[in-house]
Assembly symmetry: C2
Homo-oligomer: 147 residues x 2
DNA sequence: GTAGGATCTAGAGTCGACTCTAGGTCAAGT
DNA sequence: ACTTGACCTAGAGTCGACTCTAGATCCTAC
């Protein structure tokens, strides 16, 4: 079993991408090597394609836009010699991802805080006042919550 | 100085939302209280609106869709008595956010791994093989990108 | 009294990343 | 022979969240 040879459906299953998305990615130039076709004109993927697509899925999941993935793909297609370029792109993306994580963590802090506030309100079955004004209040009561 | 009274432009500046977005949010029912208008028909916001919008910005930044924010807004508008509901919504969102952070962290691991691989390649000035999988994944004895 | 800037409304347009449709081919199973 | 189901292409449609346009109004400054 030298050449595995997977159908688009099988690749979809393995990568989690839809068959539509796979064809779309191909049109977008997101495949390291041109897809082979069988005598009937159907796409035949290899294990390496699956690996590459798996990487793409991860890059997408971390928010890399398709144009950037295409750029990266092109570098890889051009072969050895542009490792610095690839590294730069990856580092840039890494920064974006860490920034994203940081932002989400800050949001999470606030959400946790708010959850805590509501838990308190409910625990003591009381009318707590909220930081943000509910309808009837022309309120000016101090702000509540904050750590 | 009693009632602050901010214009849409000022609110845009403070919340980071565009004036367009502010009007859009209003149409979408994303304001806890209906916006007041001055004699000329222009919107007049209060500090509480800014606080509410700031919260909305944070919820959006953490990926809460506008319909969910609208739901939450409606609960707040209905006033006291639905704290459990609000809490449930917040908890659900919190789970989504932590899931997102987890996923991003996993992506980051892989990206870091790949960055490391490229750094090695460059450091030793060599063309090398690399692997797509993260550390300690038993992978086909395959290599990677680029056929 | 007029130019400039901020604001108003309603509605159209954009962008990214798919997703779906229509209409057709192909291989296997009954 | 025929049905089924996976696959093909080209291109249209969707979705979310804005963003922008046009044409009008209003306030301040000169």
């Amino acid at each position: 079993m030298g050449t595995t040879g997977l159908s688009i459906g099988q690749v979809a299953e393995r990568t989690g991408l839809s068959v539509h998305a796979l064809r779309f990615y191909e049109r977008e130039g997101i495949l390291a090597s041109p897809v082979r076709r069988d005598p009937g004109g159907r796409r035949v993927y290899g294990e390496d394609d699956v690996e590459w697509l798996t990487l793409c899925v991860i890059l997408r999941a971390s928010g890399m836009p398709l144009p950037a993935i295409r750029q990266y793909t092109e570098m890889v297609r051009r072969g050895d010699g542009n490792e610095e370029e690839r590294l730069a792109l990856l580092r840039l993306h890494r920064e974006r991802v860490t920034a994203q994580i940081d932002q989400l963590s800050r949001c999470l802090d606030l959400i946790n805080h708010k959850v805590g506030v509501y838990e308190d309100i409910i625990d003591r079955g009381g009318a707590g006042h909220e930081c943000v004004a509910p309808p009837s209040s022309e309120n000016k009561p101090g702000r509540a919550e904050r750590s």
